[in-house]
C-alpha cells in the first residue's frame, strides 16, 4: 500500500495520469512528494487497469513528470474528529491553521458521509428564533432545515449570516448549540469579518471554522463543505449538539466544480457547469436534517451570490430545487439604506407551516404572516401603479396600502445589526403596522386575533409626523 510511484505520465491542469499502479481504488487519496520536498494531496478520479487519473488539490504548478513521487494512501478523504475541534480553525482540508495544537482524533470519518435513510428522518418542526423579523415572522426557520440566502455582489449577506449565527436560538432552553462555518473561496477580509465577529461575541468557543480563501486551491473548495458537514454530523449525531452551519459562498464552490469538470473534458451542461451539479449539490444540502431518536440536528444556511442578480442562473436554480426555500436579498431595498435588505415577496421557507402557531410561536402567527405578505404585495403593486399613473389614480384604500408598504420596509424589514427581536416583538410590530389599514381589509387573519391584537394606527403611530 505504501509503495511510491515515479510513473507520472501526463499533466493537464490539475490532473495527473499515473501509470503502472497496482491495487488502487476509486476515490482514494494520494500524497505527492516533489523533488524540493514539498508535499501535495491528490485524489483518484478514475482508475483504468493500471492507470490512475488523479487530481491534485493544490494545483500542478512546479510538478514534473520525472522526479515527483506519488504514494496512494488506501483510504478516501477523511476528517479526524474529537470534541476538541470546537473553537478551532481549519483549512479546507481540515488541517488546523490557528496555531493551536494538533487534534488527536477519536476517529477519522470519510468526508463524503452516507445519505440519511429517509425513513430515519424526523420532520423539522422546531422553531428557531433568529431575532430577525423578516425571517422569524415571514420565512420561519426550523431546526434541520436548509435555507439559503440568495444574495448578490455588494449586498450585506455576510453581516446577515453573522447576525443569524450570533442570535439564533430555540425557545426551549438547555439544548447545546454550535456553529460550523465553512468559507469557500471568499476573500481574507470576509473571512476575517466572520472570525472577528465570532471572537468578539464569544461565539468562537462553540464554533468550528473551515477556511478556504480565494487564493487557496479551488479544488480544496470541493472538500471544504464536506469537511465542515462531517464535523457538523459528528457534533450533531454523536455529541447531541444542535448545529447551525453556514456555507459561504456556494457560487465559488460551483465555479470550482466547473473548473474541474472542464479540466476533465466532460460534456458540459448549462453554462458550462457539469451535468451532475444537481446531484453534487444535493450531497451537500441534503446533509441537513434531524434524525429520529437523536438529539442533535443540522440546520444549514448556505449563502450564494447570484451572478447578475439572476435567479434562473444554474447555481441559484439548482440550489432552489434542493433547499427548503430561500431568503432573497434585494438590491433596491439595500439602496434605500435598509438593513437587512430582505425581499420578503420572493423569499420562502417551505417548512414554516410546521414550525409556527400555538405552542411554537404564537397562535396568530400564520394569520399575521399571510396578512403582512398580502398587504405588502398589494402595497408594492399600488406603488408601481402610482409610478405609471400618478398617485391620483389610486383609490384611498390603495393609498393606505402604499403607506403600509413603506412603513413595513422602514420599520419591519429594517432593524439594527445587533437588534435581537423576540418573536413576540416581531409579531406585535406586525400588528402595529397593520393598524395603518382599515379593519375591513384584514381578510387573512381570524376575527378573534383582530379583536385581541389589532388597534387602528391613530393611537399606535400617532407620534409619526411625516404622515399627515
Amino acid at each position: 500500500m505504501d509503495k511510491e510511484y515515479l510513473t507520472i505520465k501526463e499533466i493537464a491542469g490539475p490532473l495527473l495520469l499515473v501509470q503502472d499502479v497496482r491495487g488502487i481504488s476509486y476515490g482514494e487519496i494520494a500524497e505527492l512528494r516533489l523533488p524540493n520536498g514539498q508535499t501535495r494531496q491528490a485524489r483518484v478520479l478514475e482508475v483504468q487497469e493500471d492507470n490512475a487519473l488523479v487530481q491534485v488539490f493544490e494545483g500542478t504548478d512546479g510538478i514534473a513528470t520525472s522526479g515527483t513521487k506519488i504514494r496512494f494512501l488506501g483510504r478516501g478523504q477523511e476528517f479526524g474528529v474529537s470534541p476538541d475541534i470546537m473553537g478551532r480553525v481549519f483549512d479546507g482540508f481540515g488541517r488546523p491553521i490557528d496555531d493551536g495544537p494538533e487534534i488527536i482524533p477519536d476517529k477519522r470519518l470519510n468526508i463524503n458521509g452516507n445519505p440519511i435513510n429517509p425513513f430515519a428522518r424526523d420532520y423539522p418542526n422546531e422553531f428557531i428564533q433568529t431575532g430577525i423579523s423578516t425571517i422569524d415572522v415571514m420565512n420561519t426557520l426550523v431546526r434541520g432545515q436548509k435555507l439559503p440566502i440568495f444574495s448578490a455582489s455588494g449586498l450585506p449577506h455576510s453581516r446577515l449570516a453573522a447576525q443569524i449565527a450570533r442570535q439564533a436560538r430555540v425557545l426551549k432552553t438547555g439544548d447545546r448549540f454550535a456553529v460550523v462555518f465553512a468559507a469557500m473561496g471568499i476573500t481574507f477580509e470576509e473571512a476575517n469579518f466572520f472570525i472577528e465577529d465570532f471572537r468578539r461575541t464569544g461565539a468562537l468557543q462553540r464554533a468550528v471554522l473551515f477556511i478556504n480563501l480565494a487564493d487557496d486551491p479551488p479544488i480544496e473548495r470541493i472538500a471544504t463543505p464536506r469537511m465542515a458537514l462531517t464535523a457538523a454530523e459528528y457534533l450533531a449525531y454523536e455529541l447531541d449538539i444542535h448545529v447551525l452551519i453556514i456555507l459561504t459562498d456556494m457560487t465559488n464552490y460551483c465555479e470550482a466544480l466547473r473548473e474541474i469538470s472542464a479540466a476533465r473534458k466532460e460534456v458540459p451542461g448549462r453554462r458550462g457547469y457539469p451535468g451532475y451539479m444537481y446531484t453534487d449539490l444535493s450531497t451537500i444540502y441534503e446533509r441537513a436534517g434531524r434524525i429520529q431518536g437523536r438529539n442533535g440536528s443540522i440546520t444549514q444556511f448556505p449563502i450564494l451570490t447570484m451572478p447578475e442578480d439572476d435567479k434562473t442562473h444554474p447555481i441559484p436554480d439548482l440550489t432552489g430545487y434542493i433547499t427548503e426555500g430561500q431568503i432573497i436579498l434585494d438590491r433596491s431595498i439595500n439602496a434605500k439604506g435598509i438593513y437587512p435588505p430582505v425581499d420578503v415577496l420572493p423569499s420562502l421557507s417551505r417548512l414554516k407551516d410546521k414550525g409556527i402557531g400555538q405552542g411554537k410561536t404564537r397562535a396568530d402567527h400564520a394569520g399575521v404572516m399571510n396578512q403582512l405578505y398580502a398587504a405588502y404585495a398589494r402595497g408594492k403593486e399600488a406603488e408601481e401603479l402610482a409610478v405609471v399613473l400618478g398617485e391620483g389614480a389610486l383609490t384611498p384604500t390603495d393609498l393606505l396600502f402604499m403607506k403600509f408598504a413603506g412603513a413595513f420596509e422602514q420599520q419591519f424589514v429594517r432593524q439594527g445589526e445587533d437588534e435581537n427581536r423576540s418573536i413576540e416583538q416581531s409579531l406585535d410590530l406586525g400588528w402595529k403596522l397593520l393598524g395603518i389599514l382599515p379593519r375591513s381589509e384584514l381578510k387573512r387573519v381570524r376575527d378573534e386575533y383582530i379583536e385581541k391584537y389589532w388597534r387602528p394606527a391613530a393611537s399606535a403611530d400617532g407620534a409619526e409626523k411625516s404622515e399627515g
Partner: protein, 600 residues
C-alpha cells in the same frame, strides 16, 4: 432489491478494469446479458450491465463506488433488475432498487450504508390466504387464485404468473409467508408450485390483453384540475414548473385525494424531508371514501437526491412495475413521479460517463424515446385472465425545468407524449395563488371526455358552466393588457364587472388551500355548485348594472364575503349553496331598484 439466482450456474466471475464515478467497466463476463444485474467488488455493490463492447462490460452501479479498484471481482446474477411483487407492498417505503428503507434502518442504522441488503417483501410475515378457485379448476395466467387482505383498503389478489396454465391440483386456505406454496398447478410440463410472491423485470411492461382509450375522469378534488384541466383514469399528465411554484404540493394533493385504489408515489431525486412529510402525514389523513388512513393504499419509492444516481434512474421503473402489478389485479392505480427531470438527469450523467454522443443540453439522444416508453406504460386495460378484469394506471410526472424554462428538452419530450399539461406559473406562486396552475397555459386533451362524462353522470350544466367561466378568464387577460396601459377607470362598466367576476373565479373558485381541512378536497358536485354561485353573481350583477346601478356598489355588496367563504362549505352541507345564491339574487335585485328609485 430482488435478484434471481442464475440458473445456468458455474458462470465465471469477472474483474473490474475501470472505475469512474457510478460507472464501472469489467471484463471476463462472457455470456452476461444486457441489463443483467451484477455484484461489484469486495463490497458487493449492486450494478446493472448497460453496455457491452467485446469483453468490456459497462456497469452502472447503484451505490457509491469509492474504494472500488481494478482487479476486484464482479459476479453476474443471471437475471435483470427485478422487483418482488406480492403481499407486503402496501404501506412500504422502498429505495430506487426496492430495498425496504424501514428494514434497512432497523438492520443497518440511520444512514444508508453500502452493500446493505434486505428482501423487499418480508419473508417472515404470515398472510391469510383465501382461495378463490377450487382444486380441479382450469387456470390461465392472470387468473386470481386467491386473495389476501393486505391492508384495510387493499384486497391483494394473488394471480397466476405469466407462463403458467393448467389444472389446479392443490389449493388451501391458510396462513402463508410469501415464499410458501399456496397452490399447485398441473401444467403441460408437470406440476408447478405457486407462491404469493412473483418477480418481474422492471424494464419490461407487464402484459395485458388490450388497452382502451380512457373514458372515466380521475377525480382529484382539486378544482382547477377537475373543472378545467381534468385527468382520466389511465391517462398521463405532467406538472412542470420552476422551484417554489408548488409542484410537490400538487403531487402530494393528488396522492392524497385522487380517487384511485392504489397510489404509488416515487420521490425521484428530491428532498429527503418531503418523503418524511409523506411518511408522517399519510397515516394521519383519512381517505374521503372509506375514512381509513391514506397510507393504507400507498406504496412509496424514495430515492432522494443524495442517494446514488444510478438507483435514481431505476426508481421510476421500480415504481411503475409495482403500479402495473396492482393494475393487473383490476385496480385503478395512480403513479406520481416527482421529479422526472431528476430521472432524466440521472440518464444524462450515466450517458456522459459512457461517453455517448450527447443530444440537446448534454442529454442522451434517446431521452425522448425513454420518456415516451415510460408514459406509454399507463393506460386503461383489460387485464390478463379469464375474468376480463379492467384496471387502469394513470401517470402524473412532475418536471423541474431549469429556471422554469419550458424549452427544456425534458419538458419538450414529455409534452410530446402526455395528454394533460398543468403549467405552474411562478408569478401566480409569487402572488400566493395556489395551486399555481396557470389557466391560460395549461391544457387537457381529456376535456371533452370528462365533459361528456360529467354532463351525463353528474349534471348536464357542467360543460356549459366550465366554458362560461373559462371565457371570462380569457377575456380578463385581454382586458388586463388594456388596464396596464390606461388604468382601470378607462374600462366600460360591463368590462369592469367582468374583471370583478373574473377575480371572483380566480379567488373564490380556483384558489384552493391545500392546508385547510375543508378546502383541501372538493367533490365534483361542490365544484359545480361553487362555480355556479360565482357565475350567478356575475349574471345577477349584470342585470343590476343594466338597471343603472354603479360598479362600486356592486363590488362592495356584503354577499361577496359569503361567496368568498363558500369554498369552506362542508361536503355534508352542500344545500347551503342555495342560500348564498338566494342572497345574491336578493342583494343584486335590490341594487338596481334602489338606483331606479333614486333616479326617479
Amino acid at each position: 432489491m430482488a435478484e434471481q439466482t442464475g440458473q445456468e450456474g458455474g458462470r465465471r466471475e469477472g474483474q473490474v478494469v475501470r472505475v469512474a464515478g457510478p460507472l464501472v467497466v469489467a471484463k471476463g463476463l462472457a455470456g452476461t446479458k444486457m441489463y443483467e444485474t451484477v455484484r461489484v467488488g469486495k463490497m458487493k455493490l449492486f450494478g446493472e450491465v448497460i453496455e457491452i463492447r467485446g469483453d468490456q462490460y459497462s456497469i452502472q452501479v447503484y451505490e457509491e463506488t469509492e474504494g472500488v479498484g481494478p482487479g476486484e471481482p464482479v459476479v453476474p446474477s443471471g437475471a435483470p433488475l427485478s422487483v418482488e411483487l406480492g403481499p407486503g407492498l402496501v404501506k412500504a417505503i422502498y429505495d430506487g432498487i426496492q430495498r425496504p428503507l424501514d428494514t434497512l434502518r432497523n438492520e443497518f442504522g440511520d444512514f444508508i450504508v453500502r452493500g446493505a441488503e434486505s428482501p423487499a417483501l418480508d419473508r417472515k410475515v404470515k398472510w391469510t390466504f383465501e382461495p378463490k378457485v377450487a382444486a380441479g379448476a382450469e387456470v390461465v395466467p392472470g387468473d386470481v387464485i386467491g386473495t389476501v387482505q393486505e391492508s384495510k383498503l387493499v384486497l391483494h389478489k394473488i394471480m397466476v404468473p405469466p407462463g403458467v396454465s393448467g389444472k389446479v391440483a392443490k389449493i388451501a386456505k391458510g396462513e402463508y409467508t410469501v415464499e410458501e406454496t399456496v397452490a399447485v398447478v398441473e401444467t403441460a410440463t408437470g406440476p408447478r408450485n405457486l407462491q404469493m410472491m412473483q418477480k418481474w423485470p422492471v424494464r419490461h411492461a407487464r402484459q395485458v390483453v388490450k388497452k382502451f382509450p380512457p373514458t372515466v375522469p380521475l377525480v382529484t378534488g382539486q378544482r382547477v384540475i377537475d373543472m378545467f384541466f381534468p385527468m382520466t383514469k389511465g391517462g398521463t399528465a405532467c406538472v412542470p414548473g420552476p422551484f417554489g411554484s408548488g409542484k410537490t404540493v400538487v403531487q402530494h394533493q393528488l396522492a392524497k385525494w385522487a380517487d384511485a385504489d392504489i397510489i404509488v408515489y416515487v420521490g425521484c431525486g428530491e428532498r429527503g424531508n418531503e418523503m418524511t412529510d409523506v411518511l408522517m402525514e399519510f397515516p394521519e389523513l383519512a381517505d374521503p371514501k372509506s375514512g381509513e388512513p391514506l397510507m393504507e393504499r400507498t406504496v412509496l419509492v424514495a430515492n432522494t437526491s443524495n442517494m446514488p444516481v444510478a438507483a435514481r434512474e431505476a426508481s421510476v421503473f421500480t415504481g411503475i412495475t409495482i403500479a402495473e402489478y396492482f393494475r393487473d389485479m383490476g385496480y385503478d392505480v395512480a403513479m406520481m413521479a416527482d421529479s422526472t427531470s431528476r430521472w432524466a438527469e440521472a440518464m444524462r450523467e450515466i450517458s456522459g460517463r459512457l461517453e455517448e454522443m450527447p443530444g440537446e443540453e448534454g442529454y442522451p439522444a434517446y431521452l425522448g424515446s425513454r420518456i415516451a416508453t415510460f408514459y406509454e406504460r399507463s393506460g386503461s386495460v383489460q387485464c390478463l385472465g379469464r375474468e376480463e378484469r379492467k384496471g387502469s394506471l394513470s401517470i402524473i410526472g412532475a418536471v423541474s425545468p431549469p429556471g422554469g424554462d419550458l424549452s427544456d428538452p425534458v419538458v419538450q419530450a414529455t409534452l410530446r407524449v402526455v395528454k394533460v399539461f398543468w403549467g405552474l406559473d411562478a408569478s401566480l406562486a409569487y402572488q400566493r395563488h395556489f395551486p399555481a396552475i396557470s389557466w391560460l397555459k395549461s391544457y387537457s386533451l381529456y376535456q371533452q371526455i370528462v365533459d361528456e362524462y360529467a354532463d351525463r353522470e353528474l349534471d348536464k350544466a357542467w360543460s356549459g358552466v366550465r366554458k362560461e367561466a373559462m371565457a371570462i378568464l380569457q377575456r380578463e387577460e385581454e382586458l388586463e393588457e388594456l388596464v396596464r396601459l390606461v388604468g382601470l377607470d378607462a374600462l366600460s362598466a360591463p368590462d369592469r364587472l367582468l374583471m370583478e367576476a373574473s377575480k371572483s373565479v380566480r379567488e373564490d373558485f380556483l384558489h384552493q388551500n391545500a392546508f385547510d381541512d375543508i378546502d383541501t378536497y372538493s367533490s365534483l358536485k361542490k365544484q359545480l355548485l361553487l362555480l355556479q354561485t360565482v357565475l350567478h353573481f356575475y349574471a345577477e350583477a349584470t342585470k343590476s348594472l343594466q338597471r343603472g346601478s354603479g360598479i362600486d356598489e356592486i363590488a362592495s355588496l356584503p354577499i361577496r364575503d359569503e361567496i368568498s367563504r363558500a369554498k369552506l362549505i362542508k361536503e355534508q352541507e352542500l344545500d347551503k349553496f342555495q342560500k348564498v345564491m338566494d342572497g345574491i339574487t336578493e342583494q343584486c335585485g335590490k341594487l338596481g331598484k334602489a338606483a331606479v328609485k333614486a333616479g326617479a
